[in-house]
Structures are given as C-alpha cells and as structure tokens.
C-alpha cells in the first residue's frame, strides 16, 4: 500500500499542528518578553509577574491534573517546599536561590513519589480529598517548625540587585523575564510530554484506566511519573515566588488558596491542554488582583467566592474550558476532511 492510500501525513517528522504550536508559543513569549517596554506601570508589572507565575505553576499542575487526570488540591505543599527550601538555604546557609530552586524541586518530586505511593491507590474524589488533607498537615508542620521560622516566616536579607541572589528591589522587569522563562520552560516540557509516549499514556490513564492497562500502560507508574514532574516544576514556581516576595511565612506560600489558584486557571482555560493554564491565568489572575485591591487583602474570602462562581460557570457552560470554544470548531473541520 502506498503512503497516499494509507492517508499518511506528508512528513513523518513533526506534525504541522505541533509545529504551529511551537511557532505560536515563540510569538507569544517573545511578545511578553518585550512587553516591559510598553508596560511601565509598577502595579501592572506586578500583575504580569503573578500572571506568568500562576500560568507556569498551573501548567505544572496540569501535567498531573489535566493530562493524567489526578485532580490534586494540595499543590500548595509543593509550592511551599520550593519556597521554603530556597529561603532556608539562602538565608541560613548562604546558598544562592538557583541552588535552592533545584533542591526544592528535587525534594518536592521525592515527596510527591512518597505521597503518591499510598494516595494513588485512592480513586477520584478520595484522591483529591487526601491531597487537601496532606497539604493542610504540611502547613501545620511548617507553622510549628522553628527551624524554618515557624509562624513568623523567613525574611530575606536586603542586598543589592543581583541575578545571583534574584533580588531586584528597584526594577521589577527581571522578575517578568524570570517568570516568563519559568512559563516557557514548563510550557515546553508539557509540549514535549504531550507528543511523547508518556503523554499518550497519561491521557489514556485519565480517559479509561482499564482500557489503558489492556494496552500495556502501567497505571501506577504513569501517575507517579506525572506527580514527580508536576511537583518538581511547582516547587520551582514556589522558589521563584519566595525570591519575588523576599519574605515568606506559612500562609503566604502554603495556604489552601494557592492550591485552588493552581488548579483554577487550567480548569478555566482548558484542562489537559497546552494553552489552557495560560489563558486561564491571563483571565483569573488580573481579576484576582483587581478584586484584591478593591476589596483589600485576601483574607475576606470574597475572591474564593468569585473562583467558585467561575468554576460553576465553566462547569455549566463549557466543561472543557474556554479554549474548547475555539478548538471545537477546528477539530470538527479536521474530522470531516
């Protein structure tokens, strides 16, 4: 049979769809990289940093929650591990944050494997509930652990602006580029995974574990691998956040609010998609920051109500997320061809 009869795509290298994804990503990230030339306002720059950070962490969450279908509501734990590892290593031992980032990431991945061992035997809601409980226990432990500052937290020392210590007190633009780099890396890693055997296995596990097993997919290994990668990049995000705030305490990096804020952009934008977390964060984070400055602080819980409302809206109107509004049409067109 000829290739034409088999309806094979012309080239067996990269698929056109994937090549386009890369081009779009390059364009989007390049535009963000030069955006500080246009956005001079410090408040807006701050919002941009946070949006990029949450997009990156939500993308990391998406690896486990979106692709592998394991809905974690405890990713604040991994975020906190990254933030605390970096802060403790820097403030107590003088190790530059770059090292702390790596240590935090590896530590997080290891803990994800340790926790995954019992948790991945739980199904659906039970798994999600377990992640909430474990993250809350983690928060409690940190609260009562004097070595990491207890309830008081850790203040980073003041120093001159430097790429080594990731401290930029006067000009916030480096943080934009750092957060962007983090997003670009997590996006690209997800892109690679999506096209690889692991990506296919993870989606198969999510869609139908019994069928996946019959096709040679090791369910437990798949979930463990997804959890480790997801936790690693979430911790890198936490490390970045600590250097950005230059001060952390348990609530400011590990509260349940963060777990929600990592899951929501992916759910809102399109769970298990490459651009869902980015689109979701671009909507949700500015919204959060606006309500925050109007209503003052995050303690009021109003923002949580707004998140809940948004989720209900998505669940009712478009369960596959905002992106599906566009993709639905395209896929149907492809299906007909």
């Amino acid at each position: 049979m000829t290739d034409e009869a088999l309806n094979l795509p012309p080239a067996f290298g990269m698929l056109p769809r994937r090549r386009n994804q890369l081009l779009v990503a390059a364009a989007v990230f390049a535009a963000i990289a030069v955006s500080p030339f246009a956005i001079k306002d410090v408040y807006l720059q701050n919002v941009l940093v946070l949006t990029l950070l949450y997009a990156a962490v939500s993308q990391s969450w998406n690896i486990l929650g979106g692709y592998c279908g394991q809905i974690s509501l405890g990713h604040a734990l991994y975020f906190g591990i990254g933030a605390y590892a970096t802060s403790v290593l820097f403030v107590t031992y003088g190790i530059v944050p770059w090292g702390g980032m790596l240590v935090g990431g590896i530590l997080s991945a290891a803990i994800a494997l340790l926790l995954g061992y019992p948790c991945f035997r739980l199904k659906g809601h039970y798994f999600s509930i377990a992640t909430i409980v474990i993250a809350e226990i983690g928060l409690l432990l940190v609260h009562n652990w004097d070595f990491v500052g207890g309830a008081l937290g850790i203040q980073w020392p003041f120093g001159s602006d430097s790429w080594a210590t990731l401290q930029f007190a006067r000009d916030k633009v480096p943080y934009i580029h750092l957060a962007l780099a983090l997003l670009a890396i997590t996006w690209f890693v997800t892109f690679l995974i999506e096209g690889s055997r692991w990506g296919y296995w993870w989606r198969a596990v999510k869609d139908n574990p019994e069928a996946a097993e019959s096709l040679g997919v090791e369910i437990f290994h798949s979930k463990m691998a997804a959890a480790a990668v997801s936790a690693f990049f979430t911790a890198i995000g936490g490390a970045f956040y600590a250097s950005f705030l230059a001060y952390i305490d348990p609530e400011s990096v590990m509260s349940f609010r963060f777990s929600l804020l990592f899951a929501l952009p992916a759910v809102l934008g399109g769970i298990g998609t490459l651009w869902g977390p980015v689109v979701g964060a671009a909507i949700l984070i500015p919204l959060t920051e606006i309500t925050r400055s109007y209503l003052g602080g995050s303690g009021s819980g109003i923002d949580l109500i707004i998140y809940g409302g948004l989720i209900m809206l998505v669940a009712l109107a478009k369960p596959e997320g905002i992106l599906s509004l566009f993709q639905g049409k395209r896929q149907k067109a492809e299906g007909r061809s």
Partner: protein, 244 residues
C-alpha cells in the same frame, strides 16, 4: 504437539462473592487458529477473557502463555507478552482522536512517537478506519467504535487477540466486513479467540468452538459437531430457538 499450544488455561475458577463466574474451566488455544467462545448470557465468557488478559487474577488454576505461567502477571505485562483484547462495551479514550487511541496501543512495542504513529496509521488502514483517523474517538458510530477497539488491540502487535462480541449490533454487510477482517488478522499470524452470539457469523468463521454454560465448559470441538451436541442444544441453541 504441545508446542502448538499458544495458551493453556487449566482448571481456572473465578468467584465474585458467592457467584462462580468460571468454574474449573480448561481451554487450550492452538497457535494460528480462530477459536470461537460461545455460550448464553452470563455464561462467563467475558470473565474468561478478563482472566486471560489479566484484568483480575483467577482464584484457582493456571494460565500458561507460550509455556510461561502468567496467572499472576499484571494486565500490562501480559500485553507486552503478546495478549491483546477488546472490550464487550467499547472503552475508547474519548478525549483523544481515533489515531491517538491507536497510538496508545502502538506505544506498547514502539517507544518513539513517529514509529508509533506509523504503526497506528497502518493498523487503522488495515481495519478500514483510516478515514476517521483525525476524528475525536467520542464521535464514532458504535460499529466504528468496535473497529477502533480491534485496531487499538492490534497495534500492540499481539500473538493472541481476544475479541469480545465485536460483531454485535452490526448490519449483515458490516458483519461480513468484520468476518473478513478477522480472517485477515489470522492470516497475519495472529491467533484469535472470539466471543460471539450470532451463530451464523461464528460457526463458518472459527476452526474450533468452546461452549461455556453457567461458568463451565459444556462442549468443545469442530463447529459442526458442537452445534449438534445435545447438551449445547438444550443449554444454548434450544433456549435461543425457543426464544426466537
């Protein structure tokens, strides 16, 4: 002669609570044959498939594949050894395209995406589904979903293929294509065990038939002889004929 036996199920029992779904079942599958597994509803046919494919272990008995005892191996491990199955109720990956569904199967033997995609396309073409490759699996018609089940299983490059009612709900002309496909699969050197209710389809197609009833093997032999077996007629055909 024993080298001809690809799969050897010996005295297998599987219980669900008080219910004995498979009771002391022994079946030999010869390399290269098409074996029909028939029996009335609830006879334990799908349970036997689940035991062979490793969805759950037997309570008693041994299952040997190419001489190796596989009764305690996991489902994925058995897939890698060369056992593939379809599900009676199709279980497609509905968030993925038809091609991606088949690629999951291909990845069992092909680690690289490009190679897996090639295998998947070829398998889809083999099963007559290549036109639907880009479609979301959830949008397939029921007969197409059954074909997808077969394609996905075949993409794992099995030695033994277990087909659970893949012809159910097909029109006569679709069923003819299905029969043709099963023959083509066997001609590729794949041994086939198929569960089927429609006698007119299975009997001309299979080399041998095993009849299950109430979890036990009732009869085994040439299709011609099996349909004449008194016990079979009362347990299965008679009942069906009366019902019809």
């Amino acid at each position: 002669m024993s080298t001809d036996i690809l799969l050897d199920v010996q005295n297998v029992t599987r219980r669900f609570g008080g219910l004995v779904a498979n009771s002391d079942v022994s079946v030999e599958v010869r390399r290269g044959e098409i074996l029909g597994l028939i029996g009335p509803n609830g006879a334990g046919k799908s349970t036997l498939f689940n035991l062979i494919a490793g969805a759950f272990p037997p309570n008693e008995g041994s299952i040997r594949f190419e001489g190796q005892d596989i009764a305690r191996l996991s489902g994925p491990a058995r897939c890698r050894l060369g056992i593939a199955r379809t599900f009676q109720v199709p279980r497609s990956f509905d968030s993925m395209s038809v091609l991606d569904n088949v690629m999951v199967g291909a990845f069992a033997k092909e680690p690289g995406s490009a190679a897996a995609r090639r295998v998947a396309y070829e398998t889809l073409a083999f099963c007559g589904l290549q036109q639907r490759a880009p479609a979301p699996a959830g949008e397939l018609t029921p007969p197409e979903k059954r074909r997808l089940e077969v394609a996905r299983a075949l993409a794992t490059k099995p030695k033994l293929l277990l087909l659970d009612e893949v012809m159910t709900g097909l029109t006569p002309s679709e069923a003819r294509l299905g029969v043709e496909l099963v023959r083509k699969v066997r001609d590729q050197g794949v041994t086939v065990v198929m569960v089927e209710h429609v006698m007119e389809i299975v009997m001309p197609l299979v080399d041998r038939a095993v009849v299950l009833n109430l979890g036990k093997v009732l009869a085994e032999g040439k299709p011609r002889d099996v349909v004449r077996d008194d016990a079979v007629i009362t347990a299965y055909l008679g009942e069906r004929h009366r019902a019809a």
